[in-house]
Symmetry: C2
Subunit: 191 residues, 2 copies
């Protein structure tokens, strides 16, 4: 894969309960394309990962706490799934504000599975064409989104997928979308 | 406690990820008041319980599968919380229909913590005064509910509470509400 994301900084926002493969595999695809990735959470230390929501699946180290970071320092945002993960993020004002600011900045944002709940809490789902894990769709629709059942959907700066089965298409698409972003925060400091 | 629920059949609808104390303590309170309780789930066998969503906390035996039961056979419905539990229930049409039919029947229904997500999926939150765990409140509001932050709330036939801390008030209230129901399905067969 061409190193199309050289010099790009990608924020990965996640909390306890994150679905392991939905962080690990997109992160690998982004790093293979040259990006630097940073795991951001609601507190320091480690976050607990899960397989299929219920099975313990190791931990991820937290690089930054969301209260201390700025959208200006990142070129793109990835929101993995896992049921408990976005349920914890949406209760922390700094996490919700980070998601809202990212979407409003126009920089690319991608989410899979249960991750799009954060769009509901940030009230940025309105008028967007989105997909998600089936359980989240009524909440997205009630938040004003146009919900579709497709493996990967890009509407403006938001890309979404439904489940781990969609990871090949999701990873390919986010590398393209994150490369298309007009400026690099790593280079400009602001964008 | 007086045996005010003698002869009453209470349905407890739950799936994997149920918060242990939110099934166990209300069930004990209902049985202490004379009720018979039945654990209903989306498949047979056992369901996995959790403490604080992430810690393994044993299992509960499933008495009935939701596809095989009728609202007519129960006098009241209890929906415990735990993040993953209602997330699984809301994807099963028979579970959503059971909740909707129960609320529309006028029989008492009670839910705590994340349990009220089932009211969103069944589209029976509209116009109701409800409380829940904080993460669920935006989804309830978007589904048309009037959301409040109180330890226990009864609006018509729906009683809700926010978290395990509210269990003493919740358990006391549901015994009262389930006793007030005008007829017993166990006696009449229909109500």
């Amino acid at each position: 894969m061409a190193a199309t994301l050289n010099g790009r900084n990608v924020a990965i926002l996640a909390a306890d309960g994150v679905e392991r493969v939905e962080l690990e595999r997109p992160r690998q695809a982004l790093e293979d394309a040259g990006a630097r990735t940073v795991v951001i959470s609601i507190s320091s230390g480690q976050i607990q990962a899960r397989d299929h929501d219920l099975e313990e699946a190791g931990t991820f180290d937290v690089d930054e706490v969301v209260e201390n970071v700025s959208v200006d320092d990142y070129d793109a945002l990835l929101l993995p799934g896992g049921t408990v993960n976005p349920d914890k993020l949406r209760m922390v004002a700094a996490a919700v504000q980070f998601v809202r600011s990212f979407v409003e900045s126009g920089k690319p944002v991608a989410s899979i599975c249960h991750g799009p709940w954060s769009f509901v809490e940030a009230d940025v789902a309105r008028g967007r064409r989105l997909t998600s894990w089936p359980s989240v769709r009524t909440d997205l629709r009630n938040a004003g989104a146009e919900v579709v059942d497709e493996e990967v959907v890009t509407d403006g700066n938001i890309t979404t997928s439904r489940s781990p089965d969609d990871l090949p298409a999701f990873c390919e698409r986010i590398v393209e979308e994150f490369a298309d972003a007009s400026q690099s925060a790593g280079v400009t400091g602001r964008s």
